[in-house]
Amino acid sequence: MPRFLLSRVTSGLGVLLLVCLFTYLVFFALSPDPAVQICGKNCTPELIDQIRGNLGLDQPFWTQFVQFVVGIFAGRTYGEGVSAVDCAAPCLGYSFQSSQAVWDMIVQRLPVSATVAVGAAVLWLLAGLAGGLLSAVKEGTFADRFITGLTLTSMSIPNYVLALVLQYVLVVKLQWLPFPQAVPFADDPVQWFLNFVMPWMVLAIGYAAAYTRLTRANVLDVLRENYVRTAFAKGLPPSLVWRRHALRPALTPVVTIFGMDFAGLLGGALITETVFGINGVGKMAADSIARNDQPVIMGVTLLAGFLVVVGNIVVDVVYTTIDPRVRVNA
């Protein structure tokens, strides 16, 4: 087991390093000279050279890349002498726009994105599992067909359209929800909560539809398994057959998908956060892309990669505890 974990962690680190290299390469090759960007209006060639020196942009590509990677683990110092700036351990550089440390920006916004992700995940899991189960139990009936139709419809509506429609209906027309206002949780928990309701719904609906389809298909497959027939032949009560022999095998694959989906979402929901003006990692990513803020884009990309890799490892570990076949073979 520890050996299995170790090999997963090493290969995960390898993947992250590749992600790092790839994004660095893309921005190194494509982006306009950052020094010019930072320099601003009152620029002189000397100033640009000085900025280049401070950021290490006059170094060859590999040196820059190594400095960047080392910075993440050990921290680094930009510039020399009096103007030197110390960037502490998880150093992802500074935003060209706001001069804030990228790491601090991420840490600030991560809880917001996490709130969006957790709420949405709870919603879509409940809806997806319930819908899928109902659909499977009532296979072929009107309820089944209705749910199937609903899932297909909701999977085909883009998030931003859904967001606008929901806003119009729930806030403007029906006025079930107040107009979103930025408030800290401590000041007005109710308003804070209501702010998140729409983003949660918008994010959850697509996933819920996919999970409904997945759950339905899995449950129907498992019900056709010979071991379910064996369970009935043993004279077990139907409730026990369902609980023990049908649901557990049917829902195990859902765990895998959920781990990946959730991890991906923790790194920010780009469109939803932007549409609803939520100040999370996703919106930060969108903004930084619009302004070509290279260090921030790098930071967000790495964060997303990191979360997916960690999510993968967690899913594998969870899987070994719920599926005995994997456990023993590992």
């Binding site: 027939r229 032949a233 004279g235 077990l236």
Partner: protein
């Protein structure tokens, strides 16, 4: 609800299993009669689509939901057709137990074999403690000659070989000491050496416990070795029945004769296998409807 005439273990009369298809009703089993004395062994032989597996499920009331079952199935004089579902559940796995073809897919991969034997036992012995059930599970594994049963009881199905898994299935079936064991192609998925061991085990269990056996198979050599009466099925209908020796020495029905002629023999001089001549209506090897019969 008392026994009518005999003290038969199993008395099936006019058993019919009907599916509604878009092209009208289709009988998977039609007007089947079966008789089995306590401790006897009955072989049901047929090729695919003969309805032999559906028969075994229908005896237990486990036919698919889409199917309708009519006729009479009496177990020790008690009528099972029309019995309430909770009452049927008390019979299933307790008085009648089943062993299926593919032991790997018939055991749930997520649970230890111990748990799967225990739940079968506890379902029919309310109030039994886990420890008691565990003891029964270990004993059941020992009875089917699984070595080191006290340790093996905690293993998962995939940790057993094919033959060992089928032993686990048999142990599970026997844990409640049923009067009747229905084995549906119990050795078809197994290698020939393992098959021989499982057939020996079934024989031994019959000898020692007096459990009645219904053995369903396509393999004539297998039924000839371990059953004393045979029912030959084709297209859902019994075409011939009788004591095993009579069927194998003086088959009456053309289909039975054709079947016996077609079996390749290991101890036989080479010669043309007498396959049924084309055009004879006896063996169905013609274009069949795509939906086939119920599995």
């Amino acid at each position: 609800m008392t026994a009518t005439t005999s003290d038969a273990l199993l008395e099936v009369r006019d058993l019919t299993v009907t599916f509604q298809t878009p092209r009208g009703p289709l009988d998977a089993v039609r007007s089947l009669d079966l008789d089995l004395e306590p401790g006897g062994a009955l072989g049901i032989v047929g090729e695919s689509g003969s309805g032999k597996s559906m028969t075994s499920l229908a005896i237990m009331g486990l036919q698919p939901r889409a199917a309708r079952r009519t006729g009479s199935v009496r177990l020790l004089g008690r009528e099972l057709v029309g019995m309430s579902e909770p009452d049927l559940r008390r019979v299933r796995g307790d008085r009648v137990a089943m062993v299926f073809q593919d032991p790997l897919s018939s055991l749930n991969p997520y649970y230890t074999v111990g748990l799967q034997i225990e739940e079968a036992y506890r379902a029919h012995r309310p109030g039994v403690t886990r420890r008691e059930a565990r003891r029964v599970a270990v004993e059941a594994l020992e009875r089917v000659h699984i070595r080191d049963a006290a340790r093996r009881v905690n293993h998962y199905p995939h940790q057993f070989s094919g033959g060992m898994r089928q032993r686990v299935m048999i142990a599970m079936a026997l844990s409640t000491e049923p009067e009747l064991l229905i084995a549906d192609e119990p050795t078809t998925a197994l290698d020939v050496t393992v098959q021989a061991q499982i057939l020996d085990l079934l024989q031994e269990i019959r000898r020692e416990t007096g459990t009645g056996l219904v053995l369903i198979t396509h393999d004539l050599a297998v039924v000839s070795e371990i059953t004393d009466h045979i029912v030959v099925m084709k297209d859902g209908v019994c075409v011939e029945r009788g004591p095993v020796e009579r069927i194998f020495t003086r088959p009456q029905h053309p289909y039975t004769r054709a079947l016996l002629d077609a079996v390749p023999r290991i101890d036989d001089e080479i010669g043309e296998l007498r396959a049924v001549t084309p055009g004879s209506a006896v063996v169905p090897d013609q274009v069949v409807p795509t939906n086939g019969g119920p599995a």
